[in-house]
């Protein structure tokens, strides 16, 4: 009996990519983070992915690249994963679902400095402690209401 080959099209590839999470924030997928610039299946059957780093010096991009490559091997097709600067990644690329997931994990989604809300109590009475945080894409804040330190994504 012959085995039916799985359908390999862009939506199948995107569904697979939705299972891959950011190594620094494992609650958000790389699709919701907006770093997948291109996901194509070429006429020769090759799966081609272009990723956009959040920051040029993001050390996680190589890890993400190999995770994408590993995950897509199951389609049994040649896979090419590239890092591209063709368009800049900006924090506007994070999906509404992604922003909600960030908030639920204790990260304020990207916003202008005077529009940052505490991810725990939603207060606007927050203060920036430091532009720079534990990763390139985050800043340090403090909530004056619930007295929690928290991290916010940098608008970029």
């Amino acid at each position: 009996m012959s085995v039916t080959a799985p359908i390999v099209d862009e939506s199948a590839v995107r569904a697979a990519l939705a299972e891959i999470t950011d190594p620094e924030i494992p609650t958000i997928s790389i699709l919701d983070l907006g770093i997948v610039h291109r996901a194509e299946v070429g006429s020769d059957g090759t799966i081609r992915i272009d990723l956009l780093p959040t920051f040029v010096g993001c050390p996680a991009i190589e890890l993400i690249r190999s995770a994408v490559n590993d995950r897509l091997q199951s389609f049994g097709r040649p896979v090419e994963v590239s890092v591209s600067f063709e368009v800049p990644w900006t924090s506007d690329r994070i999906s509404p679902e992604g922003r909600e997931r960030l908030r639920r994990s204790g990260f304020a989604p990207p916003a202008d400095i005077d529009a940052v809300h505490c991810p725990y109590c939603d207060s606007i009475r927050v203060a920036m402690d430091s532009i720079f945080g534990p990763t390139l894409c985050r800043s340090l804040f403090y909530c004056r209401d619930c007295r929690q330190p928290f991290e916010a994504f940098k608008p970029i």
């Binding site: 040029v56 010096g57 600067f85 800049p88």
Partner: protein
Amino acid sequence: MTTTRSALAASIDPATEAALDELMLSMADDEFVIGFSDSEWTGIAPILEEDIAMSSLAQDELGHARALYELLADLRGDGQTADAIAYDREPGDYRHARLLDHGRGDWAMTIARRYFYDTADGTRLEGLATSSFAPLRELVDKIRREERYHVMHATTWLERLARHPGEPRERLVAALEELAPDAATVFTPLDGEAQLVETGLIAEPMTALEARWRATITPLFVGLDLPMPPSGDLDRGRTTHGEPFRWLWGEFTSVRRSDPGAIW
């Protein structure tokens, strides 16, 4: 001499390619050297937030350097990797600006250097925002969004030190005066500059960019009553590197030299 040309260089004439090579190497070396210098503050900055800030700035700059060296490696297409360009040269072959050759110094020196460099780099990047060389233009678009935070950081500290009478201001002024002769060396004219301007790779010659940069920083320097750097001698502004750089070079190449050709 290479006879085959890379796919990336195919659309560019050889004279322009040489000039573009010179421009990208100078940018990459600037980012690499300041990134390495700043990483020396990791763990020993005046306050914890600045440990994090200097480490992040260093990581950004080294990331920019890597992307530029990779683009350069693609342009050359001679099989040399980005790492080989970054690490396998003698100290005299680096092309970073002399502004970055003063050693780490104290915190005031670090802030003074960062302020001069970040503002100058910002003006240079602006001059590349509409570059006719698409891969560089795209990378610059991304880098500028990050450098905005660097300028904010340097400006905040410059103001903080300048407005605090006594030791903070005195140390800052001493640092600005030490750096003054080399402050504008980011704008050292390149050999192939006319070619770059003619082909739209860069918007303006370095002297025009330098004037733009001076106009950008003048209001803050006047407002804080700080000494503006004089129009210095930019001759050999990227080719004479002194003892502090030899020391830094020894540091950043030590792992690479300990086991040549090793792969992580």
